[in-house]
Subunit: 333 residues, 2 copies
């Protein structure tokens, strides 16, 4: 098995990506290799401090261009044919690797993977699954932003794909699938969710009904399905709230010397809280539905997130998620 | 001026509502009166401990029925013709009061006010404006749940109405209006928001562009416009997050005696944090667009929230929000 890591295009350049990939090599079985894709000279220089040499387990794959966060996705796909994400997708399409990890522009990754690699037979749209910290364990929010206007049948496919990922990669036994809406009854919601509710009820995909915003993080569902517009707003709002909360705490505690001493004593516990609430600790978000493993990371990912994402991609491949999605969709369609 | 307070239909019965209305009488100018609507005997008994007598400033208005939270809104409207919310709406429609405050079922309030009181000339749909705590000050989220499927022109009206409320009742000078979407550029978003972006840009309503979920609470906008489905999910998720965060803090702090001591020292500051982050402290949410002032409160509102909501309703009336909405909409249409 081989995983291609797009080393360019993140917010902080190739250094944290290379460091993460180097760390991931230690985690993976000896027969799993990594292909680092990007500007060769830059990458070679970055490998030296990690005492890594290229060889069977670690290959450098040249790509002269970088897709910037500001590049329109379709333009990047058409014009930057030697970009690192395009080259990584080419490797996957050619069967030279089994999965791709990228911290580049999400839009460009979705467009490039969809067009260059293609979708699993029967899949109508690829969707992003974001792994979020719940009260206990984690939940998978799908779609977190790949499809801004959705049809009801797409959301049913998102449920099938999300459920398989939750089971195989996140290790959830019989994942409970819920539909994000404004009330628990099936007749509550907008036109889209009411149509999806009816379809999901009949699909036999572990559907447990609607879930409201207030219950999303309660742990009552393992997979939360919604359209990509709603998912993206929810994801970004949720990511912003813990830092918002800690900023307000710092402001109020700063007003009292005694409270400051108290917070200093509680510091180790609060660090643990920050870690548990960090919506970014989970490595990356799978792009489900493309014909291969693909994990999309935050643009500002550090080595730890990249390392986790490579592991997620390897679990995706070894768990046969792609093959199982194809089989499951036949059962639903 | 008179404000009708729907005393029934909240989660905890009439007691907190009556207590809040009693406290509100102290806040209001001497020529402002309150009409308490509900079961007379129950309300009379509850007034005694507040040493209040009925008279010009405080009237009891009989209503024998109660709309339950589980009653479907349209059915409640048709069948429970002597409910407290229906009677309050009748008073407003007849011009006997200028505004209504209710902690009853939101759906029933929206349906009853729309049908019984009617909309301001030119308004296509009434919308709920929720007042949320931002990093500095507050923001108005509109629509927070009245309209689950929206047309672009409705959202433009929500912007006009929300901006006026922000200016007149919340006291914001030249409120900045933003559209909740998934990217800052106008071409980012779903079909609906892209159409709304174009209209808002041309409408001259203080529109500052799209705002993403992560920036919603930053204070970069005073009025955040979205459809009621998205608004309701966002509102409920946001309300649930501070308690979620404090529960995680309590868990982690509980593991260490030293951290427990620290948190005990910081307790007064943390109480202040909870208060600042409480999405429910703001009394109530205006239902904008109906032909009169209407403030909807949480079903579990206490006396403090009801008291604040009555003040909001009075400010709504004295500020001429209704009349100014009618004028502003003519400018936009």
């Amino acid at each position: 098995m081989r995983i291609a890591v797009d080393a360019m295009g993140s917010d902080h350049g190739p250094a944290p990506i290379v460091a993460g990939a180097a760390a991931a090599l230690d985690d993976l079985a000896g027969d799993v290799g990594i292909d680092l894709v990007g500007r060769e000279a830059e990458l070679s220089a970055l490998l030296a401090p990690h005492r890594l040499r290229t060889g069977d387990r670690l290959r450098l794959r040249p790509a002269s261009e970088v897709v910037e966060m500001s590049d329109p996705p379709l333009l990047a796909l058409r014009r930057k044919r030697d970009s690192s994400i395009r080259r990584a997708a080419d490797l996957l399409a050619a069967g030279e690797v089994d999965g791709v990890v990228s911290a580049g522009s999400t839009g460009a990754v979705v467009a490039t993977m969809t067009v260059v690699v293609g979708l699993i037979a029967g899949v109508e749209r690829a969707a992003i699954g974001a792994v979020l910290p719940a009260r206990r364990g984690s939940i998978l929010l799908i779609d977190a932003g790949a499809n801004l206007d959705c049809r009801a049948e797409w959301l049913v496919q998102f449920a099938v794909m999300g459920r398989l990922y939750s089971e195989v990669v996140l290790g959830v036994v019989e994942p409970r699938v819920a539909l994000l809406s404004v009330g628990e009854e099936g007749n509550k919601g907008n036109e889209l969710t009411r149509a999806v509710f009816a379809r999901l009820s009949a699909a036999g995909v572990g559907f447990t009904g609607n879930i409201e915003g207030k219950d999303m993080l309660s742990g009552r569902a393992d997979v939360v399905v919604c359209d990509g517009f709603l998912g993206n707003v929810v994801l970004k709002l949720g990511e912003s709230l813990p830092p918002h909360l800690f900023a307000v705490i710092a402001e109020e505690v700063g007003k009292s010397p005694i409270a400051r001493v108290g917070m200093w004593l509680a510091r180790p516990a609060l660090r643990q809280v920050k870690h548990r609430l960090d919506w970014e600790t989970y490595g990356g978000a799978p792009l489900l539905g493309v014909d291969g493993a693909c994990i999309i990371c935050h643009g500002r990912s550090g080595p730890r997130a990249i390392r986790a994402a490579v592991r997620m991609a390897a679990d995706f491949v070894s768990g046969g998620v792609k093959e199982r999605i194809a089989v499951s969709l036949k059962g639903v369609a």
